[in-house]
Symmetry: C2
Subunit: 694 residues, 2 copies
């Protein structure tokens, strides 16, 4: 693999020293192309370096310091002399291999400050800001230099100095888990340890401070400005958490440590990930932003012809609801030859690309909870799973079996076996793998979100690409747009997925209205929607668990939760009972030409329309939280003068996520771009609409 | 690979409950087959379990406690109820693939105590003692049981309660290095931290306590009893150091911790390594003991036909003396095609099996000191090293190139690449690899001697065997007899080798008289003897370094330092200057039928005669410390009535390791088994003798 040269660039670099606003020698400013966002830096007399950001004339980020603490060499890099300043403008358009849109404009003004440590070490670094219409990205770069080669980061000292006690959608800072429920409070009300303690269903978590939160952090100011803080291109560096100063409303970076307490081992030339601040007075603009993708490197994979978005079914939900098990010793093993064959048949009949089979391989009798290193070998099927036969059978049926590599977080073991495991996949016609990292990491002392594991996830994506294998990583660090660089890395879990509904307090109705503003800012999620049998007491009267949505909201999620990898997660028999509703899952695509975010409010609702890749079909998803809601959708984005057959899957009149979640109504209408849809979403409800040219 | 069944056993198991000496119900005793050693266990009223050992009626180990501290489950396992006792006797003979002797008798009486935790946890364990004529081995075994599955060892509480303030040959307790000078003091005088601090030449060391020492620990009592404490079959467990109670003369086990401070992760059924105590009133018996080998498992490799002891030369010493470098950027790269070709020619001409080439691969410009993970890839030669040509050339000449895999202690990196690296070797006709672990271990926080690394070394031996590759590990944990189980694991460094003489204070003349009693108790060492140009000022007048022996002592080391892998470490030109002395290195074999330890005193001298494997040739090595010494060797071990041509390589009349180290005399005599050799060893000197049937 090597860096792919731009093949279709509209690429303009303009040296624009003239647009710099130099107020005295210590201030430097640059505005977004549309001039709504203005970034200003200040190098104070004592060397402290600040940046601040305004949006439409209002302060969004107050002067905030930048810097580093290093343990080798032992130095605090937080006073600088600015040697020079460069600026440029880029306006290019590129085409993702797959995505929400078929073409992405990357338009920003860049400010690059060449700085030197003021304490006399001679260390030089560059601080680079890119100001987009949607927000600001900035990173630190350490060029190759005689006074700095290898170095160890003790902490990054990046601040985000906010203007007030914003409404915040947060999960606790944690080194190992991002599978938390979201909390909505003021910044000053964040109680991370308390929140973590109240989550018994998360088996491995490492919270560490009461005022620590994770990114993507979504906030809303009192005057209606939405702010999203995250990072882009997290490579060879630990994930960034944020510590909240609850009085000053200052967020400060906190990097995930390694086994000995260091944060990052770097060698010049080195650069940090981009720190991203997306800003808008429209919530829908936050969702539509492609800034994080734009800050990532182009595809590192030359031949991408084998990479395909996918819909799949599989042997999975049945384990979560207790119908079967991953392990064989229980006597109710799910991944049998017969069961897999039934799923292959079902997938072939209904046009699914893949069948995920979890629990196919030996080791599940003793896989979790003991920091055991040698668990799975990734090539030894259980005796009741005929991998040779099933590979051939799937091929005959035109379906791909999706491999499952649960590592049990024993990553040293997985890394030793990856080549053999991927060769085994190639030998058995499998080209997609779902990885899992459930447990405490081995190397012991490392964390899911530390530098070593960040490098591991990238290694997996790279090695998988060598074998032309697509990747869906569960329990990894949360994404930061690396699917641009590794388009075979289709999706991640890295948040609280639908399965929590099966065996825990579950995900409240607002959950799926927050995820797009938080976790999904970094990249697609394998959320596993499509559950039709909502209340689990239908399997077992003693169960009180349920999915916290209506059936129609489960359909809507295929549109509201963008992913090139979507599971129809429920059991065959449940889909067979409701073929009319299932039709939407069969119809909905996983690759798109365009997205129209029609309305959104984090924690409350979201309506989006998407145009199928290469076709004139549109699909709409609308969801609400625990409140019912009327959605009014103007179809003015449709091609004028064309008649569309529109199928509306909406909540039944008495639908309610708690009392009557499976009630739905399906209507067909002929509509045009002049039409408006007015649809009532039930409490915890949603609607899904397919719009196809007549 | 699987366990090899015994093919040539004289195997007797005798149930011998009648030989148990039961004094009341709490004492159990068992004696060695020759009755010189008596082991007695005592289960005290309060549950404390003791063992003690006498030798020829004298106490050697006073009552010493056994036990464990576990962190999961959190319990101190140090009071027991003895449920039952089993005993047996084994007397078998087995043939090593290679070794000091062609046949080894394994004769011991075993005592197995079935114990139950007295605190009520229900945990059961077995304590197994094997009493040989040469000493005692014991281990803990945790059978599979419902109350104990996975567990974590916080510390092992094994004591060796000594009878006095013995003279001790020790190196400091350390988690990462065993390349220390030996100190000879009373137990009460051990100052481990001070000793460690005085060793600037050891680049990565982790001493941790003033009273900690490593094993093999050699001691001598005031009344002339030699005691050696070590371990056998170190697998899936950390190395054991010993903490000295300087008043009570009690040694207590201290296991090397992992990155988070735990000692070992075990799962029932589990067993610890054997703790070994070798005892004799003759120092030579300590050296001749095969007890540690006998306590290891038989060969795990079915086909051993490809495993061959080897003599080799190589591109190595020239880097240590500064003539060339491992890296290419210096402009004096050692591993060039031309230089390697010269060594291949020299090896072929002089009957050497292999040529070691260090510095052949890219990465040496930035390989050490920065905890860098991605250093070497093990498959990319420097541009001036033509691996394809040299592979073919070596094959034509009937010589094997020995691969060098310096991992820079980045073991995660090595493990990811091992398969590719060994395949590269196979593709280039190489079947031996010298590994290296110089640096701080990655996974960061792990140690060279911890459980994770112990498992790594074994994984390397196992994977190498799959590729029919022989192994020589440098900077690993010190050996514990595993070369019986993995006969492709020919040798280790794991102690202070000859190269320290090139660039540090070096190894004093006594060093090689101590190593056989310490480091070599666990297995062969790649000590790299054979240096002929003793004083390095011959290369560069500013150098004061020298090898701290005479030339003849360098020859003697091929016999006194048993190893199936012996390097002739000096430069071609140095051997070509002294072809008469070099003849001994050409003649001396590396595999043997028999060994006669004729005289020895740790720290002072050692004389041993060895019979060449499958031939009637004998070789004698005799060495002394800083004192000159007359050696009287009776040749009564020779075949009666046969005339032997004897070549004696002895120190010149004025030879002295400091003032005249390269002076030597070579004499040829015809001798018989009635002859006696009387040879003067110079200060720091030695002699080597070859005895070949006329």
């Amino acid at each position: 693999m090597k860096s792919k040269s731009l093949k279709n660039p509209i690429f303009i670099i303009i040296v624009m020293s003239n647009i710099l606003c130099l107020k005295g020698q210590n201030f430097v400013s640059v505005s977004s192309p549309d001039r709504a966002i203005v970034l200003t830096t200040l190098n104070a007399e004592n060397g402290t370096f600040f940046y601040n950001i305004t949006y439409k004339g209002k302060s969004v980020i107050e002067p905030s310091i930048l810097g580093f603490s290093m343990s080798k060499p032992e130095i605090d890099l937080n006073t600088f002399e600015i040697l020079s300043v460069d600026s440029s403008e880029v306006d290019e358009t590129w085409k993702p291999v797959w995505g929400e849109v078929s073409s992405i404009r990357n338009h920003y003004k860049e400010l690059r400050l060449f700085a030197k440590d003021k304490t006399g070490s001679g260390i030089e670094l560059q601080i680079t800001f890119r100001v987009f219409n949607e927000g600001v990205g900035f990173r630190y770069e350490f060029p190759k230099q005689s006074v700095l080669n290898h170095f160890i980061v003790a902490e990054e000292l990046t601040q985000f100095n906010l203007t007030g006690d914003h409404k915040t959608f947060w999960i606790p800072g944690d080194y190992d888990s991002n599978e938390y429920l979201y909390h909505t409070t003021r910044l000053s009300e964040v109680e991370a340890l308390k929140a973590s303690n109240s989550e018994p269903a998360i088996s491995v978590k490492t919270p560490y401070a009461a005022n620590a939160v994770q990114t993507p952090l979504m906030m809303k100011t009192a005057d209606g400005i939405y702010i999203n803080i995250h990072e882009a291109a997290l490579v060879n560096y630990p994930a960034m958490n944020l510590m909240i100063d609850k009085r000053g409303f200052i967020l400060t970076s906190h990097l995930v440590p390694d086994a000995v307490g260091n944060k990052a081992y770097l060698q010049t030339p080195a650069k940090t990930p981009w720190r991203t601040i997306i800003i808008s007075d429209k919530a829908t603009d936050i969702l539509a932003s492609k800034m994080i993708l734009n800050l990532n490197e182009p595809a590192a994979i030359e031949d991408v012809s084998w990479i395909k978005p996918q819909k799949f079914v599989g042997i999975w939900w049945e384990m979560h609801i207790g119908k079967s098990t991953w392990d064989k010793a229980s006597g109710k093993h799910g991944a049998t030859t017969a069961n897999t064959k039934a799923y292959i048949d079902f997938a072939a009949k209904n046009g699914f690309d893949g069948v995920l089979v979890e629990g196919w391989n030996e080791g599940w009798e003793d896989w979790f909870g003991n920091w055991k290193e040698e668990v799975f070998d990734f090539v030894t099927p259980y005796s009741d799973y005929d991998v040779e036969y099933l590979s051939k059978y799937a091929k005959e049926k035109g379906v791909k079996i999706i491999m499952h590599h649960e590592t049990s977080a024993s990553v040293t073991n997985y890394e030793r076996r990856m080549d053999e495991a991927y060769q085994f996949m190639a030998d058995h016609q499998m080209n997609s793998v779902k990885t899992g990292y459930v447990g405490k990491i081995i190397p012991r002392g490392e964390h899911h979100d530390g530098q070593w594991m960040v490098n591991h996830y990238v290694r997996v994506a790279e090695k998988a690409a060598k074998y032309k294998i697509m990747l869906d990583a569960h329990e990894p660090v949360r994404p930061t747009g690396l699917h641009r660089t590794y388009p075979n890395w289709l999706a991640c879990e890295a948040a609280r997925g639908n399965e929590f509904n099966a065996w825990s307090a579950g995900n409240p109705p607002e959950h799926e209205t927050i995820l797009p503003f938080t976790r999904l800012m970094g990249g697609p999620m394998d959320y596993t929607p499509g559950i039709f049998t909502i209340k689990l007491n239908q399997y077992d009267q003693s169960k009180t668990n349920q999915v916290h949505t209506t059936l129609c909201k489960q359909l809507a999620l295929y549109v509201t939760m963008y992913s090139p990898l979507q599971m129809a997660a429920d059991l065959i028999e449940n889909y067979e009972k409701k073929p009319d509703a299932f039709q939407f899952i069969k119809d909905v695509p996983v690759d798109w030409d365009d997205a129209k975010y029609l309305e959104a409010e984090p924690g409350d609702y979201l309506t989006v329309a998407r145009k199928e890749k290469g076709k004139d079909n549109w699909f709409i998803g609308a969801i609400t939280d625990e409140n019912s809601r009327e959605v009014n959708i103007s179809l003015d984005f449709l091609e004028p003068g064309v008649k569309y057959i529109t199928t509306i899957y909406r909540d039944g009149e008495t639908a309610d996520w708690q009392t009557n979640p499976e009630s739905y109504i399906i209507e067909k209408k002929k509509l045009t771009n002049k039409s408006t849809l007015k649809i009532l979403l039930a409490k915890g409800g949603g609607c899904a609409v397919s719009i196809m040219k007549e």
